[in-house]
């Protein structure tokens, strides 16, 4: 047996060859830039929260928070205006609800068709076409709702409908978020391993059974995430509702009437000539904060939901 102890010079040579020959400055620069990119969005979020909070707190020193949250009249621009936000919340919920009713069946339906039924060639044409819908500016959608949907279609079905109404805004908003829901759901379903489909077919499943009982449950967390993203877009959407739903805050569930949403109030009031520091001006931030909190709660809730499904299924 030869010795297993190499001599000292060989050791030093080995140690020297392992030493860093030059400092990796480039690595550090890249690392710093990437960190900066990540931090920008976090800082922006903090900035938004703070800029919403400060005027909101001032607002709530003048208007009791209970009056704001549970008041049923929103007339901030009147003399002795009232600041009950419920009409804006109900407007947002009604229009978003209509959008969900339109978008979830159509979005999920197109996702199932694209992922499970369409031939490769059809999918290649259809999916990009659908995604083009996502690129249409919302202001165009708004005028489409007002000029086409309301005045050419809905008037014939509901003769008593108002020119500005929640129904047209909700339907068009639903159409606007179809691509988001369809595209992301389709991605989630396409990511389901083909072995699961094979297994389902080999047990004598039809195409429908395979899609409904195996592929959708397996892709559920991704599909729920797609819904949430679509709904978040709907809640935050401004242009369509400003143009098509009118600007009258009304506490009603009747979709044939005009409504104002939280976002369209912010847009309308923000583009007006309110004096900085006035109570009307501060109300914009209070409504903005409420919108932020509602969206945040929804996101947290849905992340929980997604996690729960993951736990069950994996």
């Amino acid at each position: 047996m030869s010795t297993i102890n190499p001599d000292a010079t060989a050791l030093t040579a080995a140690a020297n060859s392992l030493r860093r020959s030059k400092p990796h400055y480039g690595e550090r620069v890249i690392r710093g830039l990437l960190l900066l990119a990540a931090v920008v969005s976090v800082l922006t979020t903090f900035g938004i929260v703070i800029s919403l909070l400060i005027p909101s707190i001032e607002f709530f020193t003048e208007i009791p928070i209970g009056d704001f949250l549970f008041g049923t009249t929103w007339t901030p621009l009147f003399m002795n205006g009232e600041f009950g936000v419920l009409p804006l919340v109900s407007g947002t919920l009604v229009i978003t609800g209509i959008a969900i009713i339109v978008a979830i069946p159509l979005g999920l339906g197109s996702a199932i068709y694209l992922s499970e039924y369409a031939s490769l060639r059809v999918r290649k044409v259809l999916k990009p076409t659908l995604e083009v819908l996502a690129g249409i500016p919302t202001v165009v959608f708004g005028f489409f709702a007002l000029e086409f949907l309301t005045q050419l279609v809905l008037v014939k079905i509901f003769p008593g409908i108002e020119v500005f109404n929640a129904l047209s805004a909700g339907i068009i908003m639903g159409i606007m978020i179809i691509p988001t829901i369809a595209s992301l759901s389709e991605d989630a379903m396409a990511a389901v391993p083909s072995g699961l489909r094979d297994g389902a077919y080999a047990l004598g499943s039809t195409k429908r059974q395979t899609a409904m009982k195996v592929v959708i449950p397996a892709a559920l967390s991704g599909i729920v995430a797609a819904f949430v993203l679509g709904i978040s877009r709907a809640i935050g959407e401004t242009m369509i509702v400003t143009i098509a739903a009118g600007l009258q805050p009304q506490l009603t569930l009747n979709p044939l009437q005009g409504m104002q949403t939280m976002t369209s109030y912010i847009a309308a009031a923000g583009s007006g000539d309110l004096a900085t520091g006035s109570i009307e001006y501060k109300s914009i931030f209070a409504v903005g904060l409420l919108l932020f909190i509602l969206t945040f709660i929804m996101n947290v809730f849905s992340i929980r939901l997604v996690r729960r499904f993951r736990q069950v299924y994996q």
């Binding site: 490769l120 297994g199 389902a200 047990l203 004598g204 059974q209 449950p217 994996q314």
Partner: protein
């Protein structure tokens, strides 16, 4: 080191499954393939196979990668229909009926001819729901408790999972998942079980369990298994078909059936030089 002849000898003397000594003509045939070729578009993956599958036998398909044995297996329950561009020529007769005939519903074929895949493809559901899936989609109503217990017992999994039936199937080990897939398969009460390299992703202990199980299942089912593992084919099967990939005159590869016979014979005295080379490890 053992010579190839010694390997052959060992396989033939100790590892063979002792069951079927009946000549094939004395058995009922479940499948009868006549001049079957399978194409993917213009590409002919396997060419002109004529082969019977005997009832309650285990038939093994062996051969090097790319010889078309899995492709051929997938033509037994029309799984190739799911691949765009795939088509089958010739006759695949199941109890005398051509399963590619105009009036045949592939879904009905698959209810009778089950399949177990290379990777255990349990559904993202509970253990119970995995077994009950097949009967549910096939419209069998009622309480599945007895059926689930029976199938899990037959798949030699009941004792390991009886207290965890509501747990996700993903919580099981790979070998347990594959036995769950077998339980799920027999819950539809098939006649034939196709197995496409069922042990390829399993460790030796899990593999041994699946192999034992196959012997048990062969009492009630007809089994066709594709395997890369020659020892496995020798251990479990009654009959073996050896396939190889050949270049034709145009230089295009396609699979061919070289030799088909009782496993004992094929391993101890192969009649074709290519079979002998493959099973003795000189090729492949």
């Amino acid at each position: 080191m053992s010579t190839p002849d010694e390997v052959t000898l060992k396989l033939s003397s100790s590892m063979l499954r002792h069951g079927s000594e009946l000549p094939l003509h004395a058995r009922e045939t479940v499948f009868s393939l006549d001049d079957v070729s399978v194409f993917y578009g213009d590409y002919e993956a396997i060419r002109n196979v004529t082969l019977p599958i005997g009832k309650n036998e285990i038939t093994a398909f062996i051969g090097p990668s790319g010889c078309g044995k899995s492709t051929l297996l997938r033509s037994f329950n029309r799984m190739n229909d799911l691949i765009p561009g795939a088509r089958v020529q010739g006759t695949v007769a199941y109890h005398g009926t051509d399963i590619y005939g105009p009036d045949v519903d592939p879904i009905e074929v698959r209810r009778r001819v089950g399949m177990v895949f290379q990777k255990p493809n349990v559904f993202p559901k509970s253990i119970y729901e995995n077994v009950a899936y097949g009967p549910k989609v096939n419209g069998i109503k009622g309480n599945y408790d007895d059926l689930v217990e029976e199938c899990l017992t037959r798949a030699a999994l009941w004792n390991e999972v009886k207290d965890d039936l509501k747990k996700s199937a993903y919580a099981l080990s790979g070998g347990q998942q594959q036995r769950l897939v077998i339980a799920r398969c027999i819950a539809v009460r098939p006649d034939v079980i196709l197995m496409d390299e069922p042990c390829a992703s399993l460790d030796p202990i899990a593999t041994a369990k699946i192999e034992d199980l196959m012997g048990e299942l062969a009492k009630d089912y007809t089994i066709v298994i594709v395997t890369h593992n020659m020892q496995q084919a020798a251990r479990v099967s009654d009959r073996t078909a050896f396939f190889t990939a050949e270049l034709d005159d145009n230089g295009i590869r396609h699979g061919r059936l070289v030799e088909f016979g009782p496993t004992r014979e094929l391993f101890s005295s192969p009649s074709d030089k290519r079979t002998e080379d493959y099973i003795s490890g000189r090729f492949g």
